[in-house]
Structures are given as C-alpha cells and as structure tokens.
Symmetry: none
Subunit: 119 residues, 4 copies
DNA sequence: GTGGTCTAGACCACG
DNA sequence: GTGGTCTAGACCACC
C-alpha cells in the first residue's frame, strides 16, 4: 500500500480508493476482516484518525461494516460493483463525447480500448 | 454564464472551464478579446480576485495571453486541442482500467465507443 | 435466535431484547428457567462474557432473577409490562412532536392509529 | 442552543439534530447561511472539529451544502421533509404495534395524539 | 485489541 | 474569515 503525498487528493481519499479497489475486485472478500485502524495507521505512518475517517466513509458508502470491538469487514460487493460500472461507463461516455467534438475518429478510440485490454 | 455554488470545485475552476470550452470550440476565436476581469466579476457577482486567478491560470496553461493595459486574448486553439486530446485519452484509459478490473469485457467497451460515434 | 453483526447496537443489547420479548409475550413464563449463559454462548458462537453482561442487565432491569448455582429465572411480567407501556408511550409522544413540527395534521395521526388497530 | 453532556448520544449527533430541526421546521430557510463552524464552537465551548464533523454529516445527508471560504447553507428542505415524515410515521407504527400487543386500547392512543396536538 | 468520540492546535485553499 | 485536512494524544464502550 502506498500513499502519494504529492497527490492533490486528501490522504483519506487515497486510502478509501485502495480499499474500494480491493473490495470491488474481490481481493477482499465478503465478510473478510480489513486490517485494523491502528495497523493501517502504523504501516503507512499516518495518524489513526485519518484512517478512521476513511473507514467511516467506506461504511456510509456501503463498502464495509464496522463492529466496535471486533473490526471492520467487507460488505457484499455485487451491488456496489454494478453501480460502480454504471458510474465509470457514464464517465467514459462523457470523455468520448469530448474526443468526438475534438475530431478524433472512431477507429482511434477502438485502438485505445484494444490497447488496454490486450496488455 | 453560470456559476454553481453547490459544485464542489472552486469557483475559479468553473470559470476556467467556461473559457476553455469557448476557446476550444471556436466560440472565442484566435486573438479575440476576452471580457475584462471587472466585467466578468460584476456580471457573475463574484470577487474580481477570483476572476483574476482564473485568467492567470488560463495564461500559464496557454489558453490566453494578456497585454498590459489592453486586456486578455485567446491563443491559437490548434495546439491546445492536441494537448486536450492527450488529457482526455489519459482519463479514458484510467477508466478503462477500472472497467477491466470490474470484469467488463472488451466487447462491451467497444460497443460503448460505437454507441457514441454512431449516434 | 439470531444476532445481526451489522446492527449498530451492541450484541448484548440485541440479546437483552430477545429475552425481553420472550418474557413480556409470555413465551418464557414466570419462574421459568432461562438457558444457561454457556449454552446461549455456544449456540450463538459468542463470547460468554457478552451473554453474562446481558443477563446482568436483565437482572438489574427487573426482567429476571438469578440463583447462584441454579440459573436465571423470569420475573413476573405484569409489572414489567406497565413499565414497558410507559416507555413506548414516551417514545410515541416524542415522534408525534416531530410530526407536529413537520406540519402534519392531527387527523392524519388519528388515521395512523386507526390503521394499526383495525388491521 | 444547548448540549446535554449526560445524553448518551455523541455531541456531534446532538448538534446535527439541532440544525436538522431548524432546517426542517423552516427556521433556517433555503440558502440561508448557518453560523460558521468556529462561531458555533466558541458559543457552545466545544472543539471546532466536532462541529465540523456535524456539518460534514449534514452535508452528506443532504441538509446543507458547504462552500469553502464562504460558509455553509441550508438546502431546500421539501424533499427532506417528506422523507423525514415517512421515517417518523414508520417509527410510530412500530411503537403502536407494541402498544397493541401490550393490550392498550385504541382510545388511549387517540388520547395521546389529542394531548400532543392540543397543548 | 477494536472501533468510536473528542480535544487542542496546526496548516491549507478559497474568497 | 471560511470550510477542510491532518496530527498527536486521550478516553470510552465493547468483546
């Protein structure tokens, strides 16, 4: 796990994204325990409050559930995954429109897709 | 021109985007004068410092050039366009990676491209 | 019996409520023995300390009485029932105040009462 | 404004409720500015972080929107109000069912409603 | 040991 | 002056 201090995004956002990826991609499975707030804090050399903030956000966003005294655990990600897909696809469509307006051809866009999926 | 105070982005970013769009799309042509800082400020009922900040950024990003005592003018947008293309393509690649991680197939992404370019 | 780990309430509160319901509704009768702390703990796969805590609370709240070396037994529920009524009525009054502040009319509240008691 | 330190609920929850009431009841109108984080903190003799937590929660729950450098402002409460009504009514129904099971008569419940709305 | 709340005090970007 | 982020360190309830 890495934190990029040059990244303009706040640290807790970076941490949130790390865990979101791991949950959505199945690296952390349903009901699997996440590392404790304190463990992540010491590993990343970051204040526990910042990790806590990330975990709390992940809970309100539905990615994890926390049990005081036991730990934090991954939620079932199937619902989240489909929602995430919709969001990302909407984002891509917006950018494809931009490219279209900038005069890029369909073939060039196809090539970009191929490039990503064949690497 | 509209400013959305509920938008999480700072006001000067919103103003920058407004002018970027107009320059890239040709609404404001090469060497055409932009409205003065004061005019924009009064029209949008916004602090002139904020407009100034937007113009300063647009200048360092190469969208406009300023002539002391005369005003700000649009740069040639052809160069900017290719830069913009690179940025948007980078953005799309990031999102394609996300979709790949979420288990979306190459064919589905191809379909999205087709959908946009054939509408 | 079920424990919901996602429930924000602590586990011992959930266990307390389970037994309160059974005592007030008569499923566990006056002077009937409750299952032992150890049995509940093994059945629910929960730390015996937690069950102990629940039983201790139930005793101080007057729902059960414990006899050293024999076990825990249900109290007479008639007294408890009137206490329970008071608590629930207080809760309803709080919520009626909220509805009043939200602009709901007395008639609408009357209808809600009718709906419940005539179904 | 008052904070009850004996209340088991965290301070930020109490503060959230104070502002929710004022927004839902119309005391704070749409787009009206809330007192600044620091002002509330000094008035209640509470750490600014705690107020900030309350304001941030209110924003994610849709009660206010915050503009960095300008302040926090009330959202349009009409949507929130109808949602709130549904929640409170559901809560009352749950409690009415409890009373019904405890043997309370419909007339007694009617009297409670009258009591609240005629005081 | 776990998550959760709170304080005190600092710094930043924005307007 | 405003909201927002972060640190350091404390305390609590729960398990």
């Amino acid at each position: 796990m890495f934190i990029n201090y040059r990244d303009s995004r706040p640290i807790y956002e970076q941490i949130k994204e790390l865990f979101k990826q791991q949950i959505l991609s199945g690296i952390i499975k349903k009901d699997e325990k996440l590392p404790s707030v304190r463990d992540v804090a010491t590993e990343l050399a970051i204040n526990p409050n910042t990790i806590q903030r990330a975990y709390r956000d992940l809970e309100t966003e539905g990615y994890i559930y926390s049990v005081a005294g036991k730990g934090s655990f991954a939620e079932d990600s199937t619902m989240l995954r489909s929602q995430m897909q919709k969001d990302v696809i909407a984002e891509i469509k917006k950018n494809l429109h931009k490219l279209k307006n900038l005069g890029i051809q369909k073939e060039n866009c196809m090539d970009i897709v191929k490039e990503i999926f064949e690497e």
